[in-house]
Amino acid sequence: MKFSLLLFALYILIKWSAKTNSKFKRYIRKSKVRILIKTANGKYARLYIFNKGKISSRAGNTNEYDVALIWKNANVGFKCMQNKEKDASFNAAANGNLIIDGMSVYAQWFENGMKLIN
C-alpha cells in the first residue's frame, strides 16, 4: 500500500516537475519512453509514459513498456526508491533486490532524470 502511494506520488512529482523544473523539462522534451516500476509478483505496478514532454501514468501491471524496474518486493522498493545515495540502485541490483527488464539504457535515463527532480 505504502509502495503504491509512493509510485503515485512519484507520478505527481514527475508531472509537476515537467511543468516547473526547467532542467527536467529540457531533459524529457524529446523522449518517448515508457517506464514500468513494479514488484516482482506484479501486485504493485505503475507505468510512467513520457511522450515528448507530456507525462501520463497508470497503475497496474502491463507488458507494454520499454523498460521495467522490477523490485523484489514492495518493502525493498519503498526503501530503495527513497534512498538518495548514488549507488542505491546499483547496490539493489547487486543484491538481487532489483532487476531490469527491457532496455536498461532507459532505466539509466530515468534514474538520471530523477536526480534532477529529487
Binding site: 548514488k86 541490483a93 531490469i100 536498461s104
Partner: protein, 555 residues
C-alpha cells in the same frame, strides 16, 4: 654499375629494409613501376576493388600485426577513394603508410590527367604528408614516413611519388638506403606521480581499470597481466585494446558490455584509464565526477582532456604500468568485483535472455550467441554496422588480442569497415577462423570485395544481420520524426548470399533459429569465402542507437 628504376627502389626498400612483405593496393598507370617492384622483390600485393578497402585493410593490418600497414593507391581518384580510410586511421591513431601516385611534376598546372593538390587534402588527416622530388631520396623519404607513422602516438602518413621519379633510373649504389629505426618512446612520468598513482590504487575500495587502443599498440600483455594479477582490479578493454588480455580473464568484465561499463564507472572510486580517450563514447568523462582518475597516455594532450585527472602519467602504457606494478600492493577486490558483475547482470538480463531463447524472427542477440557457440573463443570476430556493431561487440568473446573488433565504433564511426578488417585479420592469421558480423547496409559499401576474397583465397565467413534497413538510423528516426515518416532508411530484403555465390563464394539464406549452426558448418566445410544472410527481427534496436540518438538531439 646497375641502374634501378625509382619505382623499384620503393619495393626494394620496403622489402629489404623495412621488412614489409604485404601491401594493399589497386592498380593505376601512375604507379606501374611500383607495382612492378612488388613482383621483383616478392612483396605480396593484395589488390582490391576499391581504394577505400586498401587503406582500411592496411589500417587493420597494423592492428592485427603490430607493424605499420602499407597501402598504395594511384593518383587522383585512387587517392580520393582512399581518403575515408586515411581519416579513419587518423582518428584511430593507427600507423598507416599511404603511398600514392600523383600527376607528373613536369605537368603541374597544365590540366594534367588526375592533377589534384592531394597534399592539401590529406594534410589535416595525417601526421606527415610529403612529396618526393628526387629519385635518389626515395628510400630516405620512405624511412621518414615509416618513422613518423610508428613513433610516439602512431598515425597515418602520406607519401606522394610522381612518375617523373618513378619511371627514370639511377645508379643503384648512389642511393643511400637508410637504416630503419624502431624506437620505443622512452618518455617516463616523474617518480612522484607514479607513487601518487600507486597510493590511490592501494587505497582504492572500488577500483576499475579501463584500457583502450594504447594498450594494444604498446603490446601491454605482460605488463598488464602482472598488474592485474597483483591488484586483482576488475578491468574493461575497449577499442583496439580489446583482447590485450583475453576476454575470459577472471578479472575481465567485458561481458557486461557497454552497460557494464556505464553502470560500473559511476560507482568506482579510483579509475585507471590507460591509452583510452575520454571522448563521446565515455561521455567525455562526465560519468564519474567523484572518482580519482589516473590517466596513462602517450600523448600529453589526452591526460586532462574533457576531465582533469587526479594523476596524469605520460608515456607508453606498457612501460608506465611496469613502473607502477612494483609500487602497488597485492590486493583482493573479489567482493567489489562480484558486486559489479551481479549489478550489470541484473541490468542486461533481457539481453541474456534474448541470447539463450530461440526466437522467430531471429533476434540479433540470439544470432550472435549461436555464432559464438559454434565458433568459440579461438576465433577472430569483427562486427560492422549500426545496431549490428553493438550486438556483435557485446555478444562475441575471444582469447585473441584484437579478437573482437568493431571498427565502426571508432571515432570516425565509419560503417563498411568490417569487410576490410576481416580480410586483413584473415591474411594476418590464415590458420584461424575469421568471422564477420555485418549489417546489411554496411555490407553494401565493400561487399564487392568478395571478389578479392575469392580471387586471393581469403576465406572469411561473413554473416549478415539482415534487418532490411539502415537499422540504427531507421530507429533513431522512429524516435524523432516517427516510424510513419522514415526517410532513406529502408533497404528491402536482398539476397546478398546469391551475389557472393555468383562471384564464386559460398552463400546461404537463413531465417530460422535451428538453421543457423548447420549453415555455419556448411560455410566452414566449403572452405570458401562465405556469406550467410540471416533475416533477423527488424523491429529491434540496440542501446547504442538510443545513446546515439540522445547525443545528437540534445540541443
Amino acid at each position: 654499375m646497375a641502374k634501378i628504376f625509382g619505382g623499384h627502389l620503393v619495393g626494394k626498400y620496403l622489402k629489404e629494409n623495412l621488412k614489409i612483405d604485404t601491401v594493399f593496393t589497386l592498380s593505376g598507370g601512375h604507379i606501374e613501376s611500383i607495382l612492378d617492384s612488388f613482383s621483383k622483390y616478392k612483396i605480396r600485393a593484395i589488390d582490391v576493388r576499391h581504394e577505400q578497402t586498401a587503406a582500411m585493410m592496411a589500417h587493420a593490418w597494423s592492428i592485427y600485426t603490430g607493424t605499420a600497414g602499407v597501402c598504395l593507391v594511384t593518383a587522383g581518384p585512387g587517392f580520393t577513394n582512399a581518403v575515408t580510410g586515411i581519416a579513419n586511421a587518423y582518428l584511430d591513431n593507427s600507423p598507416l603508410i599511404v603511398l600514392s601516385g600523383r600527376h607528373p611534376l613536369r605537368d603541374n598546372l597544365t590540366g594534367a590527367l588526375q592533377e589534384l593538390d592531394q597534399i592539401s587534402i590529406v594534410k589535416p588527416i595525417t601526421k606527415w604528408a610529403e612529396t618526393c622530388h628526387d629519385i635518389s631520396r626515395i628510400p630516405e623519404y620512405l624511412s621518414i614516413a615509416f618513422r613518423e607513422a610508428v613513433s610516439g602516438r602512431p598515425g597515418p602518413v602520406f607519401l606522394e611519388l610522381p612518375p617523373d621519379i618513378l619511371n627514370i633510373t639511377v645508379e643503384e649504389d648512389e642511393v643511400v638506403m637508410p637504416q630503419p629505426v624502431y624506437r620505443k618512446i622512452v618518455t617516463s612520468p616523474i617518480a612522484s606521480d607514479i607513487e601518487k598513482a600507486a597510493e590511490y590504487i592501494n587505497q582504492a575500495k572500488r577500483p576499475l581499470f579501463i584500457g583502450g587502443s594504447g594498450c594494444g599498440f604498446s603490446e601491454a600483455q605482460t605488463a598488464l597481466t602482472e598488474f592485474i594479477d597483483k591488484t586483482k582490479i576488475p578491468f574493461v578493454l575497449m577499442n583496439n585494446g580489446r583482447g590485450t588480455l583475453p576476454d575470459n580473464h577472471p578479472q575481465c568484465i567485458n561481458d557486461g558490455c557497454f552497460t557494464g561499463v556505464m553502470t560500473t564507472l559511476p560507482q568506482a572510486d579510483v579509475i585507471i584509464a590507460a591509452g583510452i580517450r575520454f571522448n563521446w563514447v565515455l561521455e567525455s568523462g562526465r560519468l564519474f565526477p567523484d572518482a580519482k582518475v589516473i590517466r596513462i597516455d602517450i600523448n600529453e594532450s589526452e591526460i586532462d582532456r574533457n576531465r582533469v585527472s587526479e594523476v596524469g602519467l605520460i608515456g607508453d602504457v606498457a612501460q608506465v604500468i611496469s613502473k607502477l606494478t612494483p609500487l602497488v600492493k597485492k590486493h583482493n577486490h573479489s567482493e567489489w568485483e562480484e558486486k559489479v558483475r551481479k549489478a550489470y547482470t541484473a541490468f542486461i538480463r533481457t539481453e541474456l535472455d534474448q541470447r539463450s531463447i530461440p526466437s522467430f524472427p531471429i533476434h540479433p542477440n540470439r544470432l550472435v550467441a549461436k555464432i559464438q557457440e559454434f565458433f568459440g573463443s579461438e576465433t577472430y570476430y569483427v562486427a560492422d554496422g549500426g545496431d549490428t556493431s553493438y550486438f556483435g561487440m557485446c555478444g562475441f568473446n575471444s582469447n585473441f588480442k584484437s579478437g573482437v573488433l568493431g571498427p565502426a565504433g571508432s571515432l570516425l564511426g565509419c560503417i563498411g569497415t568490417g569487410i576490410p578488417f576481416a580480410m586483413a585479420a584473415k591474411i594476418a592469421n590464415p590458420d584461424k577462423q575469421v568471422v564477420l558480423l555485418n549489417g546489411d547496409g554496411s555490407f553494401g559499401f565493400n561487399g564487392m570485395e568478395f571478389d578479392t576474397m575469392i580471387r586471393l583465397n581469403i576465406p572469411v565467413i561473413c554473416i549478415i544481420n539482415n534487418d532490411n534497413a539502415w537499422g540504427m538510423i531507421k530507429h533513431s528516426q522512429g524516435m524523432s520524426i516517427g516510424y510513419d515518416n522514415l526517410s532513406c532508411t529502408e533497404l528491402g530484403e536482398r539476397h546478398y548470399e546469391k551475389m557472393v555465390e555468383g562471384l564464386g563464394g559460398y552463400g546461404e539464406l537463413v531465417t530460422k533459429d535451428e538453421d543457423i549452426i548447420p549453415a555455419l558448418q556448411r560455410a566452414v566445410d566449403s572452405k570458401k569465402p562465405a556469406c550467410i544472410n540471416v533475416l533477423t527481427d527488424n523491429s529491434v534496436t540496440s542501446p547504442a542507437t538510443i545513446q546515439f540518438y540522445q547525443n545528437l538531439t540534445d540541443f
